[in-house]
Symmetry: C2
Subunit: 346 residues, 2 copies
C-alpha cells in the first residue's frame, strides 16, 4: 500500500502530472454542490464532473449508488481515474465508490477543507453512514495520491476551519504537552503560513501512526481519541435532525474523554481545564441532559471499535502517553458526561 | 493475505474448530432460500441466520443492503463472523457485505455448489450486479477460511453440477490437452470420488494462478478465458429477463473464445470440435441471431477487463499456452459468433 502525499499550492500542476503519468482511460471529478460552485471553476481540469448534494446527511447509500450510476453512464473502466474534490464527505464516499467500482479503480483525494486535509487525507478509511450510524460501512482503500493545499481554505466558513482544528488538537494530545499548549495558544483563523506549518506537523503525526498499523489492529486505535464520545454526539445530533460538524463533535468528545483520562489515568487537571476552556470558547456547547445518556451510551456500544458491546475508548495518562482499549462501564461514562456538563455550565 | 482452504466432508467439525479458534463476538450465517431449506438444517451450527432470496437476479444492491440491515439489527461488531453458506451468489454478496460492514468483518465461505467450490471458493472476488451488468461493483477480499466439501452436492439439481463443471473445463484448458481430454471423457454426474479428485486438481490450478497475482494485474487474467463472451451472454439473458446459469454461459463462452483462439492463434481444430460437441450435448444452445450482435458487443466493451472500450479476451495458442490481453475487433468477434452458430447449428 503506497500513497503519495503532496503539499503544494500548485494543485493544477500536481493534477496534470498525475494524469500524464497514470494515463487513465477517462477522468472523473467528484464534487459536492459547494465545491462544484466555489472550487472546481478554479481548477484547469479536463474531467467529467459528478456532483452530489453537500452535507453529511447525504453520505448515504443512495448518493453512493448515484456515483456508481454516473461512472457507469460515463463509461468508466477500472483504468479510469476519480478525483475526489471536497471535504471528508466527498473523499470518504468517493473513495468507497472508487474502491468498489469494478472491484476498484484508482482515485486521488484533493481535500478542500482543513478537516479533510488533516483527517481524511491519509489513512485509507472510506465509508458512508448507514442505519443512522456514522461511517457504518466502508472499506480500507488508499488514494493513489493526496494533494494537500491551503489555497481552498479561503472559500470556507470559519466554522470549517475550527472543525479541522479539532483533529489537530487530537494529534497534539497524542504527541506532547508542548504541542498541545502550542495549539491552544493559536487560532486557525490566524496566520495562514503558521497554520500550514502546524498542519504539516499534524498530518505527519497521523501518517506515522497509520503506517505502523494500516488495518487498525493496534496502534492506530490511538487516532480514536475523542471519537467514541464524539461519534455518539454526532449520532444523537442526527437523531435530533440537527447535525453537527464532525470536528465539533470531536472537540467535545476530546473533553469528555479527557475527563475519563483524568479520573482513570491521572491526565493532568490543569491541561484538561485549558482544553475545556478553549473548546467552550471556540466550539460552544453540545447541549445534553441526563435524559440523553441512554441514547448516547447505546450509540457508543454500537461503535465499530466495540468488541462485545462494551464501551471502548482510547485514553491518555498524559499527552503522548496513550492507553488503548480502555473499557468504560456505564456509570463511569455517565459520571464523565456529568463532569462535561459541569465544565460547560449546562 | 492468507486464506485456509479445507477439503473435508466433516463440515460441522471444521466450523466448530474455526469458531473456537477465532472466538467471534457473534456468529451469523448467510443462506439463500434454498440453502436455508436444504443445507442449514444439516449443520449443527449456533448462528443467527440471515436469509436472502435465491438467484442471480437478486444479487442486487437491495439484497446487499438487507444483509447490512440484518448484521446491524443483530448487533454485529467487526469482530463477529459471517459464514456464507451457499452458491457463488451467496459467497460473492456475503463476502462483499462482510468486507464493507464496519470496514471489514471476517467471513468464512462454505460453497454448496460445484461452481461455488471450483470458482468462488478461492480468489477473493466479491461483488454484486449493478445497472444490468454482472459483478459490476465489489471488492477483493479473502475469506478467512474456505471449506470445500462434496456432501452438499446431492442436494443439487444436475444442472448445477454441469454449471460448475464448465469452470473445471476452463481450468483444464489452461493446463494441458491431456487434462482437457480427461474431463471431456467424464461427466460430473458420474462417480463422486472421481469428481472430488478432479475438483481438487481444478481448485489447485486456480489457487496457483491467483497466488501469483492477487489483484488481477497480470497472470490472473488467464482465468478470464471464456468469460468475456460468457458474461455478455449472461447480460443478454438478463436483458431478456430469462437468466442463464453462469457456468452455462462460461461453457458457451469457452466455445466462442476457442473459435477465436483457433482462427487467430491456431488452437487445434480437433480439440475445439470435441469441446463444442461436448458443450452442445450437455449444455444445449444459447440462442442468438445476428440481431443480437450489437448488444453482445456493447456488453463486451463494458467488461471490467476492457481498458479503452475495446473487446479484450484471454485466448489460447494451445491448451496451457495462454495469451493475455488479446484485443478483438468487432468484425473478428462477429465472425467468431457466426462460427459458434455454425457449430451449434443455429
Amino acid at each position: 500500500m503506497e500513497q503519495k502525499l503532496l503539499f503544494t499550492d500548485d494543485v493544477n500542476g500536481a493534477l496534470r502530472r498525475i494524469v500524464s503519468k497514470s494515463r487513465p482511460t477517462a477522468v472523473f471529478v467528484l464534487v459536492d454542490e459547494n465545491t462544484a460552485q466555489f472550487v472546481l471553476p478554479r481548477l484547469d481540469l479536463e474531467a467529467t464532473p459528478i456532483t452530489i448534494p453537500a452535507g453529511d446527511e447525504h453520505k448515504t447509500l443512495d448518493t453512493f449508488a448515484a456515483v456508481w450510476d454516473a461512472l457507469q453512464r460515463g463509461g468508466a473502466t477500472r483504468h479510469a481515474l476519480l478525483i475526489n474534490l471536497g471535504g471528508g464527505m466527498v473523499t470518504d464516499l468517493g473513495g468507497m465508490a472508487a474502491a468498489t467500482f469494478k472491484r476498484g479503480m484508482p482515485f486521488v483525494n484533493v481535500p478542500t477543507t482543513l478537516l479533510g486535509a488533516v483527517d481524511a487525507a491519509v489513512g485509507g478509511k472510506t465509508g458512508i453512514n448507514y442505519g443512522g450510524l456514522k461511517n457504518e460501512v466502508g472499506v480500507f482503500a488508499l488514494a493513489a495520491d493526496v494533494i494537500v493545499s491551503t489555497v481552498f481554505f479561503n472559500t470556507l466558513p470559519t466554522r470549517e476551519l475550527w472543525a479541522g482544528y479539532a483533529e489537530m488538537l487530537k494529534h497534539a494530545m497524542l504527541t506532547s504537552d508542548d504541542r498541545l499548549n502550542e495549539l491552544l495558544a493559536f487560532e486557525p483563523t490566524g496566520d495562514r503560513q503558521r497554520l500550514l506549518t502546524l498542519l504539516k506537523e499534524s498530518v505527519e503525526v497521523k501518517r506515522r501512526i497509520v503506517e505502523s498499523d494500516p488495518c487498525e489492529c493496534g496502534p492506530r486505535k490511538a487516532l480514536n481519541l475523542g471519537h467514541t464520545v464524539g461519534h455518539a454526539f454526532e449520532s444523537l445530533a442526527l437523531q435530533r435532525a440537527c447535525p453537527v460538524p464532525h470536528g465539533y463533535a470531536v472537540a467535545w468528545g476530546l473533553v469528555v474523554e479527557g475527563v475519563l483520562s483524568h479520573t482513570r489515568l491521572g491526565f493532568p487537571s490543569l491541561l484538561l481545564h485549558r482544553l475545556a476552556d478553549y473548546v467552550l470558547e471556540h466550539y460552544g456547547t453540545f447541549h445534553i441532559t441526563c435524559d440523553d445518556y441512554d441514547a448516547l451510551l447505546a450509540a457508543m456500544r454500537h461503535d465499530k471499535k466495540s468488541r462485545h458491546g462494551e464501551i471502548n475508548c482510547t485514553l491518555l495518562a498524559a499527552c503522548g502517553d496513550v492507553r488503548l482499549d480502555q473499557a468504560v462501564d456505564d456509570d463511569e461514562m455517565k459520571t464523565a458526561l456529568d463532569l462535561y456538563r459541569d465544565l460547560f455550565h449546562i
